[in-house]
């Protein structure tokens, strides 16, 4: 067995810790503990992006997910003020069959991905300039549509979560 390089050691660490953190999101009984497991999970995913020479994605991952989405989750948990969560059971009634079907799904994935290889020229370097110019030239229309999607999501979030004035009476 050949000795592992430093990259492979780090990759094995990130593989194990990402798996354990996502299992922690599922298995923890307190919702706020799940949110904090998700926080560390997202930071580790940002580190995996750094492995793949995607520095801009790492920054966006930390800014958008950790700064935006996770803050939204924690705000929602605090607004809903769930107190009696510790007494309830965590899983649905048919959890065993759901688990088996998901394992079957993973087995199919593993059979497909076991021997895959990509005939590549050379791995790409980190180039945020190239990414920006591509985003504003070739992908300009999807970018604009994306801004519209975000605007609509903002308005819909406010409209749905707003208190219904008829209920207060």
């Amino acid at each position: 067995m050949s000795p592992l390089s430093i990259d492979q050691i780090f990759f094995i660490y990130f593989f194990l810790s990402l798996s354990l953190l996502s299992i922690g999101v599922i298995a923890s009984r307190n919702i706020i503990h799940s949110a904090f497991f998700l926080l560390i999970f997202l930071l580790h995913v940002a580190a995996v992006f750094l492995f793949l020479n995607a520095e801009f994605l790492m920054a966006i991952q930390i800014i958008v997910y950790v700064g935006g989405v996770l803050a939204l989750f924690i705000f929602a948990i605090m607004v809903m003020n769930i107190k009696d969560e510790l007494k309830h059971r965590r899983f649905v009634k048919f959890a065993g069959s759901g688990f088996l079907v998901s394992l079957l799904f993973f087995a199919v994935f593993y059979v497909f991905l076991r021997n895959i290889r990509l005939e590549t020229s050379k791995p790409l370097t980190s180039d945020t300039n190239m990414l920006g110019s591509l985003l504003y030239s070739y992908f300009l229309l999807p970018f604009e549509i994306l801004s519209l999607v975000l605007l609509i999501a903002l308005i819909a979030g406010i409209l749905i979560a707003k208190k219904n004035p008829k209920e207060d009476r």
């Binding site: 999970f41 809903m80 965590r90 899983f91 649905v92 991905l113």
Partner: protein, 98 residues
């Protein structure tokens, strides 16, 4: 190599799927959805890296923005559901008009 990144992506996607199927709390189900989004983003970025093409990274950008929009709308729906019915478990919701 690319297959270890794809294996990481498949593992995280499966764990997110297991959590989405098994858990009862609606907020934890949304968190598992975020785990699945991240798994697919890792696979996009690894294809971009090993294929020598920047389009995969731009797809990850779009996917992150759509995930943010999805989280906002989903949490708003869960919030109004809890406010109207007082239920935050997925298997206790039986009637359509709360």
């Amino acid at each position: 190599m690319i297959n270890q990144y794809l294996l990481l992506s498949a593992t995280l996607f499966t764990i997110g799927l297991i959590g989405f199927v098994l858990r009862r709390d609606l907020i934890v189900m949304l968190m598992c959805l975020e785990i699945m989004f991240n798994a697919v983003n890792i696979s996009f970025a690894s294809f971009s890296y090993y294929g020598g093409n920047y389009t995969g990274q731009i797809f990850v950008l779009f996917s992150i923005a759509v995930a943010a929009a999805e989280a906002a709308v989903g949490l708003a729906i869960v919030l109004s559901l809890v406010r109207v019915t007082g239920i935050n478990h997925s298997d206790e919701l039986r009637n359509l008009r709360g």
